[in-house]
Amino acid sequence: MKLNERNIPMLTRRELMRVGGISLVGGFLNTFRPFNVHAQQKAKTMGTARQVIFINLDGGMSQIDTLDAREGPWTPNYFDIRSFPNGLKMSYGLLKNLTEVLDKITIVRSLGAWDSVHGRAQYYIQTGHPLNLALAKEVPAIGAVVCSELAKERKATDSLPAYIAMNTSGNQAGLINNGFLSAEFGPMSLSVGNNPPNLAPQKGMEETFERRWERLQQLDGALRSGQSGADRSFADYHEYYRGARAIMSDPRVPEIFTITDEDKKRYGASSIGSCLVLARNLLRADAGTRFILASHGGWDHHGAIYQENTRNHPVLVRELDSAYSSLIKDLDSTPSKHSPGKTLLDETLVICMSEFGRTTGAISETRKGREHHIHVHAGMFAGGGMKRGAVIGKTDEAGGQIVDAGWSAKRQIYMEDLACTIYSALGINWTKIVQNTPSGRAFHYVEPASGTKYVGFKPVQEFFA
């Protein structure tokens, strides 16, 4: 497949002939719509993961200043770029802890993005679909789809929501919810600062809460227990209260939402540190949560990228470094409850990536930052069947174009491919189509084509061990 100047695969006539068996003749191009050739593949899912932690580096992480390091006159002294196995180059000065877990994870350097605007690209991250405002009300997040597929595995003791999202930015795309799927698969949105949120009764108020709950039931009693009618197609507001109470009175909850000093030291006293401690606790407790979206904001370094102050690149990388490495280590040292001999990491798919990358080479004179870059960016994939210690994809000298995509499709790995990969890892058939959507338009778990070009999306098999 040829790539045009924007590195978007373009379907040549020969490919169309091979693929569709129909010869292109001149002016009929406009009226011809591609057949669904993707349908020829049967979906063979891997089923290696039970749950997902998706770390969303919100803003666009600079790949040449992190996982795919390039040195130049712009590189600050503290970077200390070193070489690692498999041709990997990273800044040891910023990613010291990460280098200790390289043997547990896969680094991907050939991710690509369709959109260069945060809102649309963030929407892609959460849903795996391009933002289409006509359909947006219906389209569920990947997490919601996952949770609806895994709903049949929910246990009676599961009190926590299946999909939890932490620190999602209210701007840009916002937090994408369950779309046309049932509300129980929508994300519970938590705001996690340096301290965890309050899902248990406030400290010292446990007795007060119990008493008040009792009194509320008495006051409302006759009204709350009323039956309304056999066919109820909406969630009764009282159900939310019952669900909230189930969480608040679950004895595991206070522990899950406690961050010890030891945790803080290892994960770092940052919001991403807290998020990942909670993620670990949630999965260890196995109280119903199967998809966790943790957003780490502030990566949009258009200006002063290397400045070492509040929320610029070095600070963010170091935060991520401590938090992510500790998470990987802790997950891998927790034995799995479901597969003897395996660890929690083996059954948890951990993805850490941004919505796009940043420009390469020298930084601008005026703003001293980097701009958005959709052609290539880098991410980390671990657990849930992913290879350990692998590096996939290679970029050119500048770190801005792909030289070797590292997989069979020989092109960037897009969010659609990653959606296929996530579904496959969880044992979900990614080629599913839902016909009975409210609008009547079929909903594809992963759309067969993206935007205006034909691209056959599929799981990145090269990730799987």
Binding site: T31, G170, S189, R212, R215, A222, S228, Y237, E371
Partner: protein, 621 residues
């Protein structure tokens, strides 16, 4: 020689035949794939609920209203007060549909305050209204609230959500001026057609930061960048302007035909748009073909001028399939009227838009939904123009789209006849007996009654309304700091959320955290998300935002009552009036009094907490 020529001729004939054959196949294939199911992909025909806003509203009301204590009913006879009543009660009488009784004064007062000002009445306001013996007190209250500053703030904020005027799209200075202009326009009840015209025709030659360029912020907000943030895509921007303008002011979604023709795609979606094409869409965008929204600083400063040469179908696009064809003549899609190219285009567009009956109908329908809980056409941005005229109904299986087409038409004409006054429209809606019906329904409610608006439909309070209601009910106001977005000087602190122009004006993380849980609109791309969640219940029960306010300290209502000489029974009454805008039922009162007798402070705190967690607090009924 002749053989070679013959062979060439034969090949040519073969080639032509092949072309014709493939061509017709392709056309047929295109028609077929619309209905064909690809055989090899797994299908799930799960039983999902088809979105039916009428059914949702009916179910929710039927369940919730049964759980709400309705204290007596307004025993007055239902009077036919205006055209709304004529049409609705006429239809009910004709089709033998029973209706709810009138709301009582408590219900009506709370509901009207919420719908017009976004706030609940204070006990004083409530008592004054309930005890007023005047026969026309409801009309007087409507007029009083329409003239209030709270009305301006509530609707100024609401229109801010509607126009998606996000401060991080446009920059603080522009937002400040735009919101000031918007609120001033609402305050003086500027005719709506004039307000829309100003927004569509304003220019900002020296950036939208200039106060008198304020209305142009609406257009600048839809700017589409090119490959870098410093490039402009004029045609894409024009497209976005048309999509948003049509959605907001005509209730029609042209998003679909901006990328593909209607035929082969919309047969099950919109009958009118099936016959429309991308060319029709571009012909609308061409009204903004000479308009240039240029970026100076990305998502911060823009200029809006009309110095372009026209809508260029050959221009590249950041967000859509490439266009084709030559010059496009600006043509108004609803009427086919073509623009006079010798005159400025935007004023012509604004006139064609606002003079079209659909402008009035869509506006009326949108506001109707805010008052009645369900649009006459719902969803409000899905108007299908082929299904509006009762004299020319569509063929089966399509049905007429408005649930009461005559009413919508009449209201649209009435709106236009009254100078497109929003206040007059709201007055007409609120004065009708239909609006004043109770949500309680004696007898068996049938879903088929829903289009008749035979009862009041309940809905959750909005995020901002919940915030304000809690603050007011507990008398503990946030008094959030605010700074002038341009000069940085301190502004009066915010007590009620809608005093602020945009959410970003309010400087308090806890408040934002609380409000966001209740589905606040993201002015970027998404409107308000309705519906409940577990987190909402948790917030109401456990968030410091609530638990702090029910404590007997810091001048809260509970503190005032506990420290006063009032009896337990009086405390219960006051808390009910302040929180639920009604008096307690005897069993409620007995129970609550026993708590306060047992421990005055703890009982009062517990009671206030419980009241904030009752259904009738969180619902607008």
């Amino acid at each position: 020689m002749r053989d070679r020529a013959f062979i060439k001729l034969f090949l040519l004939a073969f080639w032509i035949a092949a072309v014709v054959w493939f061509g017709t196949n392709a056309l047929q294939a295109q028609k077929k794939t619309a209905s064909q199911k690809p055989a090899d992909r797994e299908h799930t025909d799960e039983k999902l609920t088809v979105a039916r806003p009428d059914k949702e509203v009916s179910d929710l009301t039927r369940d919730v209203a049964a759980k709400l204590p309705h204290l007596g009913t307004g025993q007055q006879k239902i009077l036919i007060r205006n055209l709304i009543d004529q049409h609705l009660f006429g239809a009910m009488a004709k089709d033998n549909v029973p209706h709810a009784p009138l709301s009582n004064d408590y219900e009506f007062c709370r509901r009207l305050y919420l719908d017009l000002t976004g706030r609940i009445p204070t006990p004083e306001q409530l008592k004054t209204f309930v005890n007023d013996p005047a026969a026309n007190k409801r009309d007087r209250l409507i007029d009083e609230l329409l003239a209030s500053q709270a009305w301006v703030e509530h609707w100024g904020y609401w229109y801010g959500d509607l126009f998606r005027t996000a401060a991080n799209r446009i920059g603080d200075p522009a937002m400040k001026h735009f919101n000031a202009w918007l609120r001033q326009s609402l305050k003086e009840d500027k005719p709506y057609n004039q307000l829309v015209t100003e927004m569509l025709t304003a220019s900002a030659p020296n950036t939208i930061w200039m106060p008198d360029a304020a209305p142009a912020t609406f257009l600048a907000r839809w700017h589409v960048p090119g490959i870098t943030m410093y490039q402009d895509r004029y045609e894409d921007t024009a497209d976005e302007i048309i999509v948003q303008t049509a959605r907001l002011f005509l209730g029609i979604t042209y998003q679909c035909i901006s990328c593909h023709q209607g035929a082969g795609f919309l047969e099950k979606v919109n009958l009118d748009l099936v016959s429309k094409t991308r060319q029709d869409f571009w012909a609308m965008s061409a009204f903004f073909g000479k308009t240039r929204v240029r970026v100076i600083t990305f998502q911060d400063r823009y200029t809006v001028t009309d110095d372009g040469t026209g809508y260029d179908t050959k221009a590249p696009s950041s967000v859509r399939l490439l266009r084709e064809g030559g010059d496009v003549h600006p043509t108004f899609i609803l009427t086919g009227e073509k623009a006079d190219l010798r005159k400025p285009l935007r004023p012509q567009f604004a006139r064609l838009l606002t003079q079209n009956p659909q402008f009035s109908r869509a506006t009326v329908n949108l506001i109707w939904k805010q008052f009645f809980g369900l649009g006459i056409v719902d969803p409000v941005d899905a108007f299908d123009m082929a299904r509006q005229d009762p004299k020319h109904p569509p063929s089966a299986p399509w049905t007429l789209q408005p649930t009461n087409a005559e009413l919508l038409d009449a209201l649209g004409r009435d709106f236009a006849a009254h100078g497109f006054s929003l206040k007059q429209l709201m007055r007409t809606l609120a004065r009708s007996s239909a609006y004043q019906l109770s949500s309680r329904f004696d007898g068996e409610w049938k879903e088929s009654y829903t289009p008749y608006f035979a009862r009041r439909y309940v809905r959750l309070l909005t995020a901002e309304q919940i915030h304000d209601a809690i603050s007011q009910a507990t008398q503990v106001f946030g008094n959030y700091n605010r700074r002038d977005p341009i000069y940085g000087s301190a502004l009066p602190p915010v007590r009620f959320w809608t005093e602020a122009a945009t959410p970003e004006d309010i400087n308090n993380g806890e408040a934002h955290n609380f409000v966001r849980t209740f589905g606040q609109a993201n002015r970027e791309q998404f409107d308000r998300q309705p519906g409940g969640s577990i987190l909402q219940a948790m917030m109401l029960m456990n968030s410091p935002f609530v638990t702090r306010r029910v404590r007997a300290e810091q001048g809260s209502l509970v503190e005032q009552l506990v420290k006063s000489a009032k009896t337990s029974a009086e405390i219960v009454d006051e808390l009910y009036l302040a929180t639920l805008s009604r008096s307690p039922l005897p069993p409620e009162k007995q129970l609550a009094v026993s708590w306060i007798e047992k421990d005055r402070k703890q009982g009062a705190e517990d009671l206030h907490w419980a009241l904030l967690n009752k259904l009738d607090f969180i619902f607008n009924y």
